[in-house]
């Protein structure tokens, strides 16, 4: 079934010997100087301005990084590829980096202010050994606290489950980021819930970012260019979630020539085509990824497994048109589908669809408005295909969003971002119906609530000096629940139950039912203590008007998204953090220590055994609680050299309290208790060893076991053993340890730009507990016994071939 540990190690040694034969790449600085400028500013410095473009497509490159003398001076391009860098006259080695481009090397002699336009050459370097395309001291000089930026190249060589590059799993190696466990979609940032993360795909919210119940990322690696996780300070232009923002961007199609790339793996295969529709004016990118995993099911001896079905796909389409040098229109479409049926017992189907248009323009050198209009849909179906009463339960969340952002850049040390956004949530009724014809189920539909969330924002980044910079923002958000809807009134001072409903109010279509609003201040400051040391402090207030209602220990694809209502107020979180950042050995190492505290109000909690589906008065099953999370993070990263990678350790506590005068509306008698994903210790080591055109990478993970509600005794009624459980989350499952390794071999075939990735997930074959649960032993004299379920209790080897034509 699987390779043994012994054979895995033999294979590992073999791969090392193959990869090790490949030589190391060298940078070449033997080129003539480029002479720039002839005059300087009053202070003696020169201002270098220019534009960085893709030499082939002529497309401006956004956020390309320019480094003079290994980041002694650096800058990056704006959304039109422009840059402006102030530096003293002199001779410099300049490196320009951009994802998907070969690094460009120049020797420049700066005499004074002048123009430097740079055209970069496309290239697919494997592996990218420097872990960052950013300035090596960006962690010191970036104003925002708790911001992690990655390009896909930085994670592409990391070991991945079944070879599927997964940005969600990668960010879980960062300090402060965890998840409930393997096979659960979603992640938790600094004690926040998974629904408190705003996941933006090209600026549009994505409500489920996973395939295969959370085992595989919903993002096609060939399409993604970069992603950023805002886990500390979240700029005011983002709103609607209480914990973090994960911003994922896809690339544009090539404006110059047609290109093709793809890959074949054990789980899925993918193909991407991109090229010009009108040369240098408009382009198209189309990509599809589809599972090819049914073969695995057929191999299983288990009759239930080989009668099952499991498949998914995702597709991306991007059209781009440059009206002129100052105006770019992008149309992005993302569609994904998952289907899973387990024998004749149950099934799931869920779909994402997002279509958004983004229009970037530049009215003058300082003002750049961006308009983003999006339509999104998240559909989920829970299927019961059993021979008696087959049924399906459907949910369908639809949203429309408009967002206008204006970037104003008065000068190189000051930038202002302002704008507004509005999102309308218009879910379809939750519907129960028969499945595949004959059924005795009564068809039923329950109307879901509508809501409109709007916000205006302004964010000001200002660098007072080389040592002090501030990012301050203010967001005002307002939310209205709108009709049509029924609102139930309950007896005062009694638990909300169906039996305590005393009146029902009917609201017509579009009528405002309940409004919530408030200010959301955001501020982050950076204070340099020395050239390579800084302290950052930040404070955020964030409001969340849509909630994931989940009756399970971890998020599932069929969880319900519910907007705020009269009885479901918005979640409000206050996030504080302070961090000390220090780089060592000429930015070879970056280190940091951060402390955070988060307080949360109006958290959605659940009564015991809630009935959440098809419930027209869902508030009778919900409770409102408060939460707190606090902890410290230690992070050390090596950025240069053959070995790169990072070590992170987080100690944190995440707790919830639900207290009420009515005992039935309290949890654990109103005391603080651990949240489902509370894992106090979280330790990760990520290593990447450059081997010419190949690489060796590993990830080691240790976390505390998550909380558990355990059986403390039991009794029998009508012959059935009824376990008696402890109060909520009073125990912890065993700790979790995992080691993954991968090998990347570049240029497998000499005439093709390609690579082969071989990885071993859970190399130690450790049977980590996903959960501990109870089943009655054979002898029913005894209380139920504890069993440990290990989701992946063996080594999983995988191989993936990637190519580009």
């Amino acid at each position: 079934m699987i390779s043994s540990k012994g054979s895995s190690f033999l294979f590992l040694v073999l791969i090392i010997s193959v990869v090790g034969k490949i030589g190391l790449a060298q940078e070449n600085w033997e080129m003539p100087f480029t002479i720039i400028g002839d005059s300087t500013r009053g202070n003696g410095n020169a201002i270098l301005t220019g534009i960085v473009i893709n030499g082939a497509s002529k497309e401006p490159l956004v956020e390309a990084h320019l480094s003079f003398d290994f980041f002694k001076y650096y800058g990056r391009t704006d959304q039109f590829g422009r840059f402006a860098i102030e530096l003293p006259p002199g001779r410099y080695k300049l490196v320009v980096r951009y994802v998907g481009m070969k690094p460009a090397y120049f020797r420049v002699k700066v005499l004074g202010s002048g123009l430097l336009n740079i055209a970069m050459e496309e290239g697919y370097e494997l592996p990218e050994v420097e872990v960052s395309d950013r300035p090596l001291d960006s962690n010191i000089k970036e104003s925002l606290a708790g911001l992690s930026k990655f390009t896909l190249k930085e994670i592409k060589n990391l070991p991945a489950f079944m070879g599927e590059v997964d940005i969600l799993k990668s960010i879980q190696t960062l300090p402060g980021v965890t998840s409930v466990g393997e096979g659960s979609s979603g992640f938790n940032v600094r004690g926040g819930r998974s629904d408190q993360n705003l996941i933006l795909l090209n600026g549009a919210p994505l409500f489920n970012s996973s395939h295969a119940l959370g085992f595989v990322s919903g993002f096609n690696q060939d399409v993604i260019t970069n992603f950023s996780l805002y886990k500390g300070n979240v700029p005011a232009n983002f709103g609607g979630r209480a914990s973090s923002v994960l911003e994922v961007n896809t690339k544009l199609g090539d404006f110059e020539k047609w290109q093709f790339q793809g890959g074949v793996g054990l789980i899925s295969s993918r193909f991407l085509a991109e090229g010009p529709l009108v040369r240098n004016k408009s382009s198209i990118l189309a990509a599809i990824r589809s599972s090819n995993s049914d073969w695995a099911l057929q191999q299983a001896e288990n009759p239930d497994v080989n009668r099952s079905a499991f498949n998914f796909y995702d597709a991306n389409l991007t059209l781009a048109n440059k009206f002129n040098e100052r105006s770019l229109l992008k149309l992005n479409i993302y569609s994904s589908n998952d289907f899973f049926r387990f024998s004749q017992r149950f099934g799931f189907e869920w779909q994402n669809f997002i279509a958004n248009a983004e229009w970037k323009s530049r009215t003058d050198k300082k003002l750049s408005p961006t308009l983003n209009i999006a339509f999104g849909q998240y559909k989920s179906t829970l299927i019961d295909p059993s021979p008696t009463n087959p049924s399906q339960l459907k949910n369908n969340l639809i949203y429309y969003q408009i967002k206008e952002t204006v970037d104003y850049l008065p000068n190189e040390i000051h930038s202002i971002k302002s704008g507004f956004e509005s999102t309308a949530y218009l879910p379809k009724p939750e519907a129960l119906s028969g499945y595949n014809g004959n059924t005795s189920i009564v068809e039923k539909a329950v109307d879901k609530n509508y809501g409109i969330e709007s916000g205006i924002f302004v964010n000001d980044d200002y660098r007072f000096s080389e040592n002090i910079s501030i990012s301050a923002g203010l967001r005002y958000s307002i939310y209205s629940q709108i009709g049509s809807a029924k609102v139930f009134n309950y007896q005062e001072n009694t638990p909300k139950l169906e039996s305590t409903i005393i009146d029902t109010l009917h609201f017509s279509n579009g009528q405002s039912i309940k409004t919530y609003q408030g200010l959301e201040p955001r501020i982050s400051g950076r204070f340099n203590l020395a050239e390579s040391q800084s302290v950052k402090v930040s404070y955020n207030r964030m409001r969340q008007y849509i909630h994931q209602i989940s009756n399970t220990t971890a998020p599932t694809p069929v969880d319900i998204w519910q907007v705020s209502t009269t009885y479901l107020p918005p979640q409000v979180a206050d996030n504080f953090s302070v961090g000390y950042f220090r780089n060592l050995k000429d930015n070879m190492f970056e280190t940091s220590v951060e402390l955070f505290y988060k307080s949360m109000n109006n958290l959605v909690e659940y009564k015991d055994f809630p009935a959440l589906y098809l419930n027209p008065h869902i508030e009778t099953e919900l409770l409102s609680g408060k939460g707190r999370a606090f902890g410290g993070e230690i992070y050390a990263r090596k950025l240069k050299g053959r070995w790169t990678g990072w070590i992170s350790y987080t100690y944190s506590q995440t707790q919830v309290s639900v207290d009420s005068p009515n005992k039935s509306e309290s949890i654990n008698d109103g005391r603080w208790f651990a949240s489902n994903y509370n894992k106090p210790h979280n330790f990760n080591i990520v290593g990447n060893r450059r081997m010419g055109k190949g690489a060796f990478s590993f990830i080691f993970t240790y976390t505390s076991g998550r909380p558990l509600t355990a059986v403390e005794s039991s009794y029998i009624t009508d012959g059935t053993v009824v376990p008696v459980y402890s109060q909520r989350n009073q125990y912890n499952i065993p700790d979790y340890i995992r080691l993954d390794v991968s090998f990347t071999i570049g240029n497998v075939f000499k005439k093709i730009e390609d690579s082969l990735v071989i990885s071993f997930y859970n190399l130690l074959g450790r049977e980590n507990a996903y959960s501990v649960f109870y089943q009655r032993p054979q002898s029913n004299y005894f209380i139920p016994k504890a069993y440990q379920l290990s989701v992946l209790g063996a080594t999983l080897p995988s191989i993936t071939y990637n190519f580009k034509l």
């Binding site: 959370g214 288990n302 149950f346 059993s386 399970t552 440990q788």
Partner: protein, 356 residues
């Protein structure tokens, strides 16, 4: 609907794709603080005279099931006063004889323990009945996957119910009890004595909880509802009875059983509903803070009894299971323990049911 889905999800998810290939399940020693001494009350008043049983116990300080509680005074009341007394027939087992619950009456029990503690249940209104039309039986071979993922074929005796729902405002629950004879090994002795047989009466498929809310069904005819599946083992070597009870229960009782069903089907997957303690319908009047477990229910029951003989099996069971026949070997250790001391088998007694 929700219950059925969640329950089936639970049973199956552990075999999901890679889980089926790479997951593993193992029993572990998980240290918990055993909470003992909590009163447990389970039982009913029924429309069938011999089903008015209440069991009392206290949760054990060890990993064992509750210790039976003897010497309690239990009375059942309706709107008009005391209906009957439950008398102790075995340690911790109390029965109200010659009583039949009446539809529409509201019942509650009051319990007084020897230590003076006083308990009362919430009232339960006896619901109207729904007809149990037909019981169907079937012997099928099925592949069963064990905890290690290894499938094996086993024979099962399956019981299906066909019912007519008289009202949409009805909650139904089924249970199947089995009764069979266990004759211990008759070792030769100089006096020619024959060891007495044991009678085992128990739930045939105890972890299967089949209940429905009739208001959620489109039809009033329930057909081939699987209510029990019993593995065919050594117990089928002798005469077997299956009694199928269809109970009309209250909404509160339905909710109680819905929660029991959720807990009975935990498999540790992400789809498990978070477990919790199930609150019953009893309170301690002498100490309102004292926790009481269990549920007293008013059930309108109908039942069908079916006997089953080894000759009814379509195959010869004897070569497939170990028997208690004397083989000539006089060493008791070479026999199954049930063949030596049949009374040690769970739910075993020497008391022959009157209808057996």
């Amino acid at each position: 609907m929700r219950i059925a889905l969640k329950s089936s999800i639970g049973k199956g998810i552990q075999f999901f794709v890679f889980l089926g290939l790479f997951s593993c399940l193992s029993q572990i020693d998980f240290p918990v603080e055993i909470k003992g001494g909590v009163l447990v009350v389970t039982g009913r008043i029924s429309t069938i005279a011999d089903q008015n049983i209440i069991e009392l116990g206290r949760t054990a300080e060890t990993e064992r099931l509750p210790e039976p509680l003897s010497g309690a005074s239990i009375e059942v009341f309706d709107e008009f006063g005391r209906v009957a007394i439950y008398s102790e027939i075995e340690t911790g087992v109390y029965e109200a004889q010659n009583v039949i619950g009446i539809v529409g009456r509201t019942y509650h029990i009051e319990i007084k323990l020897p230590n003076g503690s006083f308990y009362k249940s919430k009232p339960e209104r006896m619901p109207a009945a729904s007809g149990l039309d037909l019981i169907q039986y079937e012997i099928v071979e099925e592949k069963v996957v064990d905890f290690e993922g290894i499938p094996t074929s086993k024979m099962f005796y399956k019981i299906y119910a066909n019912s007519t729902l008289d009202s949409r405002n009805t909650y139904l629950k089924w249970r199947v009890t089995e009764a069979f004879l266990l004759s211990p090994t008759d070792f030769p002795d100089p006096f020619g004595s024959i060891p007495p047989p044991c009678f085992i009466v128990q739930n045939a498929d105890p972890q299967r909880i089949v209940s429905i809310d009739a208001g959620k069904l489109a039809t009033t005819q329930l057909k081939r509802q699987l209510i029990a599946s019993r593995e065919i083992d050594w117990s089928f070597l002798e005469k077997h009875y299956f009694s199928t009870y269809q109970s009309s229960i209250t909404k509160d009782a339905f909710e109680y059983w819905r929660k029991v069903d959720i807990l009975a089907n935990q498999v540790g997957s992400i789809f498990d509903s978070p477990p919790a303690e199930i609150s019953g319908n009893l309170i301690c009047l002498s100490d309102p803070l004292e926790k009481v477990l269990g549920f007293f229910q008013a059930c309108n029951e109908t039942f069908i009894k079916k006997d089953f003989y080894p000759s009814d099996l379509p195959f010869d069971l004897r070569p497939l299971v170990s028997k208690c026949d004397f083989t000539g070997n006089t060493d008791p250790l070479s026999y199954k323990s049930r063949c030596i001391n049949c009374i040690d088998v769970r739910n075993s007694s020497y008391r022959r049911p009157s209808w057996f």
